[in-house]
Symmetry: C2
Subunit: 202 residues, 2 copies
DNA sequence: GTCTATATCCAGATAGAC
DNA sequence: GTCTATCTGGATATAGAC
């Protein structure tokens, strides 16, 4: 009994260390990029030795891949609540657009994630692809189905329309926040919301 | 006379070396990012010594800043020809959108530039701002004026509309090319063109 | 599993001859 | 202005004790 308990305690602290490494490494990668992050700082931030980091993740690339992949899967859950896709388009669409935009604009970690994903998409193409698959495809499909279920909207190509919608929103976040364009080309979020509502609902 | 000519020849080769350093360094930065680029390879690619690179550019950061700034100023010229902004909207807008989209989708160097600009926008915020100013503001203004000069289009907020337009186009390029989404969520360019035409021209 | 200590290499940057 | 040679620090990664 005692041995088992000891084992369990040991495994717990190990898990905790791995957890600390993962979260700390994520912070480092988001702040400094892939090449700009050192394994020394990753270890220091997690409060463990470098050798421990290497014993859990084969090398720097392995650690990076694990982090990005995990994050790509996780994030797409909480972007929007698909149960809200019921009701008349005027209300539903406005709510959808507002929620998604505000979510992106206020989430600095998500912004840093997008930054590194794009920045490293040359070196790590598969990670970019996985993100596209996990983040873009689900909302695309769901919103398409919603638009198609309302033929009175008269939308000839719902998929293209949803891409236009998402694209203008993501691009807005990028120019305003990621690229620090808030002061250079300022614009209230509501104007983009109204614009999309106007052009989509005719 | 002879001395002057010698001097001129010497200055010519110097300029040539600087040119070689600039173009070579650009290739390196575009391929490997800021932190991933080494001054050794920059020097080697230019066929000069490292000391020569440092004598012309104070340090790595200075070289990078010079390159990105120069490129931000230069590129915005050839994106579109504003003389083409005369005629009826159906023709002008379609041509504008098609040209810009095809230009972005086929220019791999521009794509790599966007990648590094976003990737390093955390470390070099002023460069990102300069690019926003040089690349976004001019077309934004010009297209806005065009739309406003055609009140029959019934566009309530031309600036927001142009942002929607440009945003969806840039985002399309990013997902398809930068993030290698061509095979994962394929879509013909024409569909986005038609979609924009439909929603903007009502 | 985790540590300290270390091997090995390569980075940015400069000194000094020519 | 340009080179070779070098300084110095910090990077990835591992060996070996506990």
């Amino acid at each position: 009994m005692a041995r088992i308990k000891t084992k369990e305690i040991e495994r717990e602290t190990t898990v905790e260390k791995v957890e600390k490494i993962l979260t700390g490494a994520m912070q480092e990668f988001l702040a400094h990029g892939y090449a700009g992050t050192s394994m020394d700082r990753v270890a220091a931030r997690a409060g463990v030795s470098k050798a421990t980091v290497y014993s859990h993740f084969h090398d720097k690339e392995g650690l990076f891949r694990a982090l990005i992949e995990q994050s790509a899967h996780k994030k797409f859950e909480d972007l929007f609540d698909k149960s809200l896709l019921e009701g008349e388009p005027k209300v539903v669409l406005r709510y959808l657009i507002t929620t998604a935009l505000d979510g992106m604009l206020s989430d600095q970690e998500h912004q840093a994630f997008v930054r590194i994903l794009i920045g490293e998409s040359g070196r790590f193409p598969e990670l970019a692809k996985a993100w596209i698959h996990d983040m873009m495809t689900p909302p695309l499909k769901i919103i398409c189905e919603y638009l198609d279920s309302h033929p009175e909207l008269n939308i000839p190509d719902s998929e293209a329309t949803v891409r236009m919608m998402i694209g203008s929103m993501v691009h807005f976040m990028m120019t305003q926040e990621l690229l620090h364009g808030k002061e250079i080309i300022p614009m209230e979020t509501e104007r983009l919301v109204e614009c999309l509502m106007y052009h989509i609902l005719k």
